[in-house]
Symmetry: C2
């Protein structure tokens, strides 16, 4: 692969900044020093900040959904696929102070464009669907200790995102492991 072009480098750097500081917590000036280009030049690639946010959310959505679908191809059982899902959100934490893009964008929701808000909702719906399908396989026949696939899917997404919040505020990824351990042990 050739050296990444400016647009790609901008999006990658912006994604990291958003996930560390939120949409309101970084500026074009930060991006400017981060990749060594003048502030004004960024506007050539992304005229408004909302364009940039929407672009990284859509790219993130494509990438993550592709990874999740990859789990289905490479891992034999729904329990292992769900474990890989938890591990993926654990990995996203990096050193403990980085959130998944969804959570990072949720707080400053009011400053998002309508298109970006829709992209976040579409992404979450896709993840919910993926989880639902895993639980539908895992829970057939139904079990008394589990809820419906739809409920368990929503609970699992909430669990990993909440566990990221716990880890992030303490800057310690072990909080994520602690909060998700009981769930992982419940899996067969």
């Amino acid at each position: 692969m050739a050296k990444a072009d400016t647009k790609t480098r901008l999006m990658d750097a912006a994604e990291q900044l958003v996930r560390h500081r939120g949409a309101d917590g970084f500026s074009y000036a930060d991006l400017s020093t981060s990749i060594g280009i003048q502030k004004a030049s960024i506007h050539y690639h992304f005229p408004a900040k909302s364009d940039l946010l929407q672009a990284i959310m859509e790219q993130y959505s494509r990438q993550v959904i592709e990874i999740l679908e990859g789990f289905c191809d490479t891992l034999p059982s729904p329990a292992e696929q769900l474990r890989a899902f938890v591990d993926f959100y654990r990995l996203a934490l990096q050193e403990g102070d980085c959130l998944c893009l969804c959570v990072a964008l949720t707080i400053g929701k009011e400053s998002l464009s309508e298109g970006t808000q829709k992209a976040v909702l579409n992404f979450r719906a896709a993840v919910q669907k993926w989880l639902e399908n895993r639980f539908a396989q895992l829970l057939s026949p139904p079990s008394a200790t589990w809820g419906s696939p739809s409920e368990e899917a929503a609970a699992t997404l909430a669990l990993v995102e909440g566990a990221q919040v716990s880890a992030r505020i303490a800057t310690d990824p072990r909080h994520f492991d602690h909060a998700t351990r009981a769930f992982c042990n419940r899996l067969p």
Copy 2:
């Protein structure tokens, strides 16, 4: 009770603003229009914004911990106390776009003073402890379908906070109910 003084009104308005938009998402100008006082006058009560954030975090912490301890006095079983805990986080959502103060402060963590970050950590430790004691009662004798009280406490806090994120991004509190239903049904 007499009419609330300016300081109290400022703190209450600021808490609502933070929970709706995050620490970076509101300004003294917003507060000014919200309670009908000039921007500069706010600095008399809270010289710096970090002073205001720390004051509302500490007030919030005292209020919530008092409420949680009240559940222990008025509700007979740990299962009912845990249900009341979930209901409390549900109520905090308001119309679906309001987060608990902890989550709202987590994203803009870098812009918090050291004292405010400590106040958030102390509060979360107190909630974790409260949950742990409830699960210790609930799970004696230990059950095969549950983890340790400490793990279940961390998981429950992560679940309700993650469920708030789900509800907030969709501006629909029913997402919270859906994500927490399986947990509530697992309770005896």
